[in-house]
Each structure stands twice: as structure tokens, then as C-alpha cells.
Amino acid sequence: MKVLVAVKRVIDYNVKIRVKPDHSDVDLTNVKMAMNPFCEIAVEEAVRLKEKGVATEVVAVTVGPKAAQEQLRTAMALGADRAIHVQSDDKVESLAVAKLLKGVVDEEQPGLVILGKQAIDTDNNQTGQMLAALSGLPQGTFASEVDIQGEKVSVIREIDGGLQTVELSLPAIVTTDLRLNEPRYAKLPDIMKAKKKPLAVKTPEDYGVATASKVSLVKVEAPAERKGGVKVGSVDELVDKLKNEAKVL
């Protein structure tokens, strides 16, 4: 079975972003970029399926600018066999990404597609579900356990009240939650080897997808700043302040 993994290049999760002074967007100049943490988990899961002998090939795909090839090389250093780069310098929104991924799914015919549940830049949490709908495939979102048995996959999902188990027919779409696995680090020899793995470059036109979106960004603002308050010296003082000053008790 072939497994397709979608990875996105995003701001490193440790970086605290700033809004541009003209409020047109956030300022990403010279900001450290990395693979979206949920995508790292997706790659790890795919590689583990290959190590277990369930997957025969792992293909990583990204939609983004030239620089996003770094994240594809990372995915290959972690164990993906080859990569597909759909190159676009535009901001490609989730719907267009899902359409492009559908194009890749049609071409590659994977048995399983793994995506992150959410990209930590837009915090959209949409692409996997959209891809599932467009491809007419079932979805197991927010997965904390994925178990393939023959023609089916059983997925334990993290839902608001606890955990839900669903069984899906294959091929299927899975999106990862944080507890699915703990991703490994790439080793230096693997990083070297990844440089020689095949990377195909495509364009949105190759898939007949227009990337323009009908949603426009009007402005971006910093959230209301919370001012740090005071330190209290004792539990008594805390209880007193909560009762008499904040009036929340």
C-alpha cells in the first residue's frame, strides 16, 4: 500500500509572530520556518507503517514556494521515499490545497493519505476534511491511533468529550492529533541520503486548479494585550483580592 503524506511549511512553533505596522498581514521576514508539527506526526506515522511492512512506499507532497522543498527534504530524511512539490508563490488557501491534493491522489492512487489536523499558521483545520469530501473518501480526523486491518482502517479520534473509534473503508484520509506518536529526529546520514531521493516539481496548472480564493484579508491586528497584574504575597491576600477587588468569588 502506498501512503501519501501532506506537509506544510509554516513558521516555527516557538516563534512569536508580529503584526506588520500597516496591518496588512503578519511579518514573516527572517522568521524561522519549519515543518508544521502536525505534519511531522503525519510523516512519522507513515514511516512507521512502512517499517511495520504495512506501507510499501511513502510519498510526501507539499504546496508552496520553492523554499518548501526544505520540508520535503526533511520528510525524506525522516523516511519518505520520494516527494512531489506543487510550486506556487501565491498564498494557497485550504480549499485550493485540497483540490491540488485531490489531483495528486487521483494520479498516485494511495491506499491512505495522512495530513496534519491543523496548520499552526492559519489554524484552519480544514484541508484533510476537504480532500476527503472532494475525493469521495471517508475520513478519520484528529487521530490518536491508526490501525490498518486488511481493507479497513480503525481510527481512534480525539473528540471534545473523550475518544471515538470509527472504522473506515480504504482508501481513506486520516488527520493527526498530537498524541498519535512522537516524531523522530532526522539523523545526519539520512539527511545526506534524502538529498538524492526523487523530488518531482509540478504546478497548479498541471492539475487544472485555479488557486485564487474568494476570501480576502482585510486587515490583521494584534490581539488585545493582557497586562500582567500583581503578585500577591499569600493565599489570604489572593482570596481577599478575588473576593473584594476582582469580585469573582
Partner: protein, 312 residues
């Protein structure tokens, strides 16, 4: 222009979040006119529909009561929404795990974008939403014919329960051979829901182990609080995943949030920094959580918590 709100429910009861989503729908209706319908889809959902009919501002509750909608699996629920969406200019759901699971399917099948986690309505086509873990707020305008939106419940005050909408059955039944519900393991608790509680007390890695979370119980009992946790506490297995507060967990905005043994990573702050009053209890006086706390108490939680419980 009419608006459809997908009701959130579980265990045969309407979830509190729906009243917040209806409030968002009302703001959209006020900006452009139009009726608000609520869709209740599930199996055995008569009581849910009756509760939804009482939400102020709702004209009609549409009920799809059929085994195929049991557990609100994304595939059949998405197909149902696609069938009904033609009547509406906006379809809204809460940004719950059900809403997040199904709404992008509707959007994709209608070839429109989805706006996730909306916290403000500026007009019928312009909305605000947090991005980058809430470190920026984007205002976005959608020119799509159908607006598909998930609403962050904490962004809108709930409507009251004195309405009187009509209830109509929806006969549409879709097929689903792709996904099967196997089971659910839901946390049992007598405490209020995290998202709805007026007071939340959360423990982090500093709690040390799951057993020590009991130190929060007595305080939560006295305050009628829900108990939450940081991801580190959930990852370490101290408590189950449904207690996680943060960018990728639950978003809360109670009147009082008490963070105990939590350092204050941006991903955690993203889930609680809109709380009215924040208290931090941490032994490290440099912990970033103090930068957002109204009241900070530097100290060992194992001493502070029993004393706090006795003095409440």
C-alpha cells in the same frame, strides 16, 4: 438570506455551545436580515430539538432523526448539509470537534472556502478570526455565495432560552457505507463542561502525576469549577485528552481561570487568555504565565492548594 445553524448535541441533550452560535447568527441576521434555522441531526433527538426551539431568535428547527445520523459521523452529516445548504446564505456550526469534522466537507462540496473559529461579525460577509495561535486577529471578507463558518463559542454571549420556534422533520436520508461507528469512551464527570464553566482550574506538568490532580478537586467543588490541563499534563498521562486547554485543545474564557504548575507557553495561552480574571500559581517567579495573570502567587503548589481549599 437565511442562516442555518448546525446544533451541537450529545447524550440526547443540546450542548451549551449552540446558544453561542445562534448569537453569532443573530449578528449576521441583524446585519442583513433573514431567518435563523437550526438543524438537529442525529438519532433519537426529539429532546434536543425541543431545547433548540427555545433558543431566542430561531424561527425553525429542522430535525433529521435517523440511524444514519447517529454519532454525527462526518460523511452522512456532510451529505445532509450539502442537501440543505441550497436554502441558505450562511451555514454555521460551533468550532467543536463535530463542527470542525463536518463543515469543511460542506464547504468543499459547495466549492467555497470555510472560515474557521470566527470570533466576531463585522457584516454579513466580513468576520474576524484568530490566526497564529491567537497572536494575531485577521479580518476576512468572503465573496463566496455561501458562507461556511465555524464559530468559537467564547466569542459570543449565549442567547437566552425563551424563544419558541417551530419544529419540522427533514426526511432526507443519505447513504453511508464508508464509515462505521465502533465506540466512544467519554469522560464521566459531574463537573460543568470546560467550555461553559464560569470557573476553570487547570493543572500542568508541575502537578507531578495524575494522583496529585485530586488536589484540584476540593477547590473545584467549592467554586463549581471545571478542571482543565496543559498539554504537558495530558501527554504525561496525568489526565485524559479532553481536558487539554490551548491552541489545539479547548478554548475557554471563564470569569476566573486558575493555572496551577503551568509555565504559560503560547499554545496554552491561546486557549485561556480571554478569561476575565487569571490567577497563576507557580514556584518559578519568572514563569511567562505571570505576564498574563491578574494575580500571581509564587509558591509550591503542594502547600498553596490545601491552604487555598481551606480558605475558600
Amino acid at each position: 438570506m437565511s442562516i442555518l445553524v448546525l446544533a451541537d448535541h450529545h447524550d440526547g441533550q443540546l450542548a451549551g455551545t449552540t446558544a453561542h452560535v445562534v448569537a453569532a447568527a443573530q449578528e449576521i441576521a441583524n446585519a442583513g436580515g433573514g431567518d435563523i434555522d437550526v438543524l438537529v441531526a442525529g438519532e433519537g433527538v426529539t429532546a434536543v430539538a425541543e431545547s433548540a426551539a427555545k433558543l431566542e431568535g430561531v424561527s425553525r428547527v429542522r430535525v433529521a432523526d435517523h440511524a444514519v445520523y447517529a454519532h454525527q459521523l462526518a460523511e452522512p452529516l456532510g451529505a445532509l448539509l450539502v442537501e440543505l445548504a441550497g436554502d441558505y446564505s450562511h451555514v454555521l456550526a460551533s468550532a467543536s470537534t463535530t463542527g470542525k469534522n463536518v463543515m469543511p466537507r460542506l464547504a468543499a462540496l459547495k466549492d467555497v472556502s470555510q472560515l474557521s473559529d470566527v470570533i466576531g461579525v463585522e457584516s454579513a460577509d466580513t468576520f474576524s478570526r484568530p490566526i497564529y495561535a491567537g497572536n494575531a486577529i485577521a479580518t476576512v471578507k468572503s465573496d463566496d455565495a455561501l458562507k461556511v463558518i465555524t464559530v468559537r463559542a467564547t466569542g459570543f454571549d449565549a442567547v437566552n432560552g425563551e424563544g419558541n420556534a417551530s419544529i419540522e422533520a427533514v426526511e432526507t436520508v443519505v447513504e453511508n457505507s464508508q464509515s462505521t461507528f465502533i465506540k466512544e469512551d467519554l469522560a464521566q464527570s459531574d463537573r460543568p463542561e470546560l467550555g461553559a464553566a464560569k470557573v476553570v482550574i487547570s493543572g500542568g506538568r508541575g502537578m507531578g502525576n495524575g494522583e496529585n490532580f485530586k488536589l484540584l478537586d476540593g477547590i473545584a467543588d467549592k467554586l463549581g469549577a471545571a478542571i482543565g490541563a496543559s498539554r504537558a499534563a495530558v501527554d504525561a498521562g496525568y489526565v485524559p485528552n479532553d481536558m487539554q486547554v490551548g491552541q489545539t485543545g479547548k478554548i475557554v474564557a471563564p470569569d476566573l481561570y486558575i493555572a496551577v504548575g503551568i509555565s504559560g507557553a503560547i499554545q496554552h495561552l491561546a486557549g485561556m487568555k480571554d478569561s476575565k480574571v487569571i490567577v497563576a500559581i507557580n514556584q518559578d517567579d519568572e514563569a511567562p504565565i505571570f505576564q498574563v495573570a491578574d494575580y500571581g502567587l509564587v509558591g509550591d503548589l503542594f502547600q498553596v492548594l490545601p491552604e487555598l481549599e481551606s480558605k475558600l
